[in-house]
Symmetry: D2
Subunit: 376 residues, 4 copies
């Protein structure tokens, strides 16, 4: 792991998610750019031997490559702030290791394209942890749309509302708030880099539709804040559907209110991340249907994304773990000398990562131009 | 009543709402432009004497004016398709009667302004039945914002999703679908005239904020349909708040999903028309609070908009009836020779009606220009 | 109307419910045992002419009988405290008028049987306003069970939780609390007379099953209270199903939380009065289904119990009005000389009223014996 | 681990829960009474070395005791069918290892008392995985009641409804259904041993109240089934509160519908396991309050039971893991030579286990006597 030291939110999440199914074990890392802190975090938070709490990335890559294969780390999870994602990933790829990277892919589009090129010329696996794609009911939604059950899509909306930045938390000791509102580390977008990009990813993952163009109106409501903390984006899709992405971190009192709704010619669906085990389906001619994780009538794809019988809530960590579970399975096939086909990749990969950066770039451009239409 | 004959939806609603509190009684009407149908509808649907089921508006106005005061109708409810609202209202006003008119005010802005002028030079009362303003919890929301409890507002969203026009219902015998998709009767907007205008009205009624400019993307998804059946509108408010209005009549399976959300610096609220007796309040530093119609801790304004103890659901008709109840009370004061002050008017009046027409006009203009910003 | 004077809750409810559909009009009444108060209530609350606000029941019956038929009242609604229901009803029946009576039927079983006998020997119509039977989704539930869709029933639960008597409200000016906790006026049961009886009625109405025996544990939690304010009752049904009725008026903070759940061999249903427009259906082999008032896929019986399209909430008053609407239609057929068949009676009648009194009697006997099984 | 071989449900749950926080690692086990199956399950399901997949309990205990301390297992999780819990636990205790045991404690009371005695005369730690006690909002509820915020308790209800045994699943290949309906392995109660006991435990854990006596009506609805699959129990508590436990495995279509409601003199609470991150609080004089896992206004005790910010759903595994997390922390203190005080034990221990067996025993006795009151 790279990143995830003291004060981090997402590092421990990656650890728990990766290890949940018993197929992955955290064995080493660089947990901070400060070597002493890397050491203490690796020992205290992750219970690792001091010897594998490395002071910097190159030391780790060199040291691990020299270990016998059965001891050596197999891939690297990157959980740093955005601006370090690509440079870290490039080094890891160059050293011949696969990569799991937190989202968004980068702080700017060009770096993302560089990484895409490097990966295309390797046979290494890459996963971007747009973790919401891991929910069983999101898999069910994707399956329903892919099978044509909803008919041609017309309207696709996604919103992600939080309230934790409704005051100037970046002026407090909150390290999350500090780097996520800092253009140097977060990139050109704040709220839209952090969570708006989840909306774009979720929409494209579930619907199979590509956003064609956007018209964005981003705002920084908190005084002195440099990056957007709220915004709304009109969407036009390649195939004629329309929709809206709304994202906010000043929606006071909201926790992690991510919802997705899709309406086609034959049916509609809605899903809410805060009650992730239900998927509402609406039909023109019959009653509302609520499919449930683990429940009757769901697809094999959704069923395989769960671990428990229906009614035993699986949440954020379990969905996150599904990405790692698939990644681990692919790593295993690869280790056994098999080629991993695109069709086997059910997690967001480098293509999704680049799409995300194009979205962030287009949204910022649109908003800076006063709210005009920009192609993605 | 003018309109509301056989096949109408909103006419019987007005009758039930008006009469609910025992202060109003439907006594006469022109229920159709076809005199025979006016007569049969008045007798069969409304149980009126044949003598007061008039063949046309002028006959009714003349006949009623000639009746002794205690028998004479006191005001006219206009429940026709949109294009007849203003011409009817102008005639009624000219005859000296007060008016209750269904929304939107008109099929085009100029007519609305004509009526505004006529009303300003009279002392007649006028109400536009944006009925959703009548819900107790909407009154509570309005009160909370007016009192500053939510702080300066930042984000205001309203959406209204229906699915009943997801197929070409206008090609069936459905009279509602026919006139609402017909530019000659509905006006320049379809979905946004019918229900998008409710969103704009509800936002301005509850928030006390005025929409400054809009950027709209309207679509007619159903083949051959002439008016929008879906759309999204970015909003900028006079005081700096931002938001979105989404409205759709092709959101298949949705019934009457009108929701309002407002986030200020100090708190947020959300309300859903399909569960109208609850109002969710979100705070930065304390748990979610759910105020309930008739329940503990609500304002006098909200309490007075209910008729039953908490937990005895009041719905659409009761909210609608609140407009009539206030109107009836004002009529009574007027009859007793008192002047009705603006402060006493808690229903949408001609000002709100004109605002609605400006909104529809701006939205259509913005969308026709490809989705550019237009001031209201 | 008899009862319903100043301070009453249910009198105005009956007025609104009766008049909602335009087929009934309140024309006269005895609104209080105090003639002056009867007069003032009739004028102020109900807007009646002084001449028809009678000082006592016999005066009303005599006066109304002497009126020409088209002016004369057609039936009497009894909305007094429980102990006056039967004596009033007997007098009204004797005078040849039909009766609508609030629930429970009486304060004690013998009186209920007397009234049953009197009604059996007349051809007068009688309705007991167990108003919750009027909800469209309750009609849907009844239809589903009657048609065998749920299979043989196994488990039937109903609970009704309120919190308004969690303190000694009877020692305040609250007239509702005073008479409902007074054995002389309420009868042998408090909470179970007032709302537990709704549970029993709703269960038998919806399920078509009869409760065979009960084992009850009633409690008066508030000091000095003479009647139960909380209780739980185990149920055994004639056909082998089991279940529980819970009712409480000290469930602090609960409003009017009436829920019904029925599980058969093939499917289950649940319904909650505070969100009455939805009916949840559960199946062994397919997803949860939510039928909606006015929505797709509901029975004709449920559809006819609504007045508005799906998503336009109908609540307590509309459900209540459905009883009056059916009653008015039967009155009309009767007036036209037709016999009203039992099959046409979709409202709780005298049989249901006697069942309710047997339930109250058995529950009180069971609880007083320390919680033993008693047959109904 | 003892038990948890192929086809088991709860074994893998224990593995995931135990390991979630990185403080526990599954190192060995006897996964089946069939040695070959123990070996294959240990390797395939849990990825263990063959050497530590033992053929039987004694072999494991002997072998592990002979290992150096840093390699040796530290405690044993027992996840067998009920009838093997106590005999296994006694052997483990005798060998000097601490124990985590699945619920209920035993198939009969006497064995439970034997184990209690053995544990009392040791200093070994024991945990019974009544996992629902691990939810953050259950901890919040417990804290609220312990602090007196709800006042003296009056009414306590818990129900647990499932539908998975609504047909004769024991006649299929379902191993869960087979042993849970078999008196030899499950004990004297079926549904009430499996899930009714969760209700009793949750009630006593949260409320701090002890059930004094019960009146039970248990039923086996499915033909030929030997143990109850449904039942209802009236409750009387030591301190005067009353309530009901309902449990069913034939509530067709229900998943894992465990709900708890408690009403005191000053406030009430409700919680549902299927939406475990919310706790509803009801007050006599202010609006409904919804406390949220990780959210504002919750107690330190509840906050410490979560791992993620509010709105990131934690579910069944995370709650389960909280028991293991506490247990691991206590094991650590013990290893460091500290005594673990009762006050530090926030998980259900042997006392709770014996209470559970008393409850099952009393419920079965009551029901067999036709539904009479039995003291616990």
């Amino acid at each position: 792991m790279v990143g995830g030291g003291e004060g981090a939110f997402i590092g421990p999440v990656h650890r728990m998610a990766a290890e949940l199914d018993g197929a992955i074990e955290l064995v080493c890392g660089v947990f901070s750019s400060d070597p002493a802190r890397s050491l203490s975090s690796g020992q205290d938070i992750y219970g690792l031997d001091a010897a594998r709490c490395y002071p910097d990335l190159q030391t780790m890559l060199t040291a691990e490559k020299s270990l016998p294969e059965h001891q050596r780390m197999e891939f690297v999870s990157i959980v740093t702030p955005n601006h370090l994602h690509v440079s870290t990933a490039l080094a890891v790829v160059q050293a011949g290791f696969c990569v799991v990277c937190d989202k968004p892919l980068s702080h700017e589009l060009q770096a993302a394209l560089d990484l895409e090129r490097a990966l295309r010329s390797s046979d290494l696996l890459f996963a971007l942890t747009h973790n919401y794609t891991g929910y069983p009911m999101i898999r069910e939604a994707r399956q329903l749309i892919a099978s044509g059950t909803l008919g041609r899509l017309r309207r696709i909306d996604c919103e992600y509302l939080q309230g934790w930045l409704s005051t100037a938390a970046e002026n407090t000791a909150n390290p999350q708030a500090r780097w996520r509102t800092d253009p140097a580390r977060a990139g050109a977008a704040g709220c839209f880099g952090d969570i708006g990009s989840h909306c774009q990813n979720l929409i494209e993952y579930v619907s199979g539709q590509r956003i064609h163009s956007v018209c964005a109106d981003l705002t920084a409501f908190v005084a002195q804040r440099q990056l957007d903390d709220d915004g709304n984006v009109l969407l036009r899709f390649d195939d004629g559907a329309r929709g809206v992405i709304s994202a906010s971190q000043i929606a006071v009192g909201e926790e992690n209110a991510l919802t997705l709704r899709v309406y086609g010619e034959k049916g509609g669906l809605s899903w809410s991340q805060q009650e992730p085990n239900s998927l509402q389906l609406r039909w023109p001619d019959r009653p509302l249907e609520v499919r449930r994780a683990g429940g009757a009538g769901i697809s094999a794809e959704a069923a395989s994304a769960g671990r428990l019988p229906a009614g035993h809530v699986e949440g954020y960590l379990e969905a996150f773990a599904n990405l790692y579970r698939s990644f681990a399975a692919a790593m295993r096939r690869r280790r056994q000398g098999n080629r991993v086909n695109t069709a086997e990749i059910d997690w967001p990969d480098i293509t999704a990562g680049v799409r995300g950066m194009r979205f962030i770039t287009a949204v910022v451009a649109s908003s800076q131009a006063g709210g005009t239409w920009c192609e993605m």
